[in-house]
Amino acid sequence: MLQVTINGQPRQFSAGLTINQALRQIAIEVPTLCHDERIQPYGSCRLCTVEVKGFGGLVTACNTQLRDGMEILTHSETVTGVRKTPSACWRKIIPPKPSRSFRKNSSTATSANTA
């Protein structure tokens, strides 16, 4: 069993888990976007970053293996501040609503099918 500290609380977990898997076992949720249980963790969105004492920066919970002795902070001021930045980047590039209809019977879809 691995002995770790999460948000100041000592916890025990089996070996072989990612940080995210361990957090979900104790109902602590960190935000994710690129993560899906059906595929291998990718670590792209950086939303699931958590603070681990002794590491230089933040680590992605989705694809970082839980190790014995880790001290993890999931919602520190540093982490929550950093999470806002990727979110802000996406809000700038993703339009609030589609610029054209994607419905099957729309004229756009019809012309695309005949192209």
Binding site: R46, G57, V82, T85, P86, C89, W90, I93
Partner: protein
Amino acid sequence: MKGVIIGGPIIGMIPPHLIDTQLGFEELAAIGAGVGHGGVVAFDQNTSIPALVEHVFSFGAYESCGKCTPCRSGAGRIEELFTNALAGDATKADLQECRDLVVALKLASLCGHGTGLARFAESILRYYPTEIEPCFK
């Protein structure tokens, strides 16, 4: 001379008052710079620091592999903000956005490309504030 970059461009810039820093890994890291690939680029007094930032982040955005959000989106956004600043169209809120993006690059990037861009930007904000802040009104 305005400054020197050793091993850059995605590494800290060295201002004139620190030019006597010993050329060593620990010594340069202590002032926010580094050895990197060891190449030396010096900038004369005519260099525009905001234009240099735009140039470096244009390079950084182009060379980004695109995997992690802070580098993929953040580098291009910082380039855009400095393009606007050079055109006189940037606000203090834009400068704060730059600072937030630099923190995300430093702490949440996947690799040294993003963290290197952050080191460069941190050195500029630290050593050349009088050249940067007036561009953001």
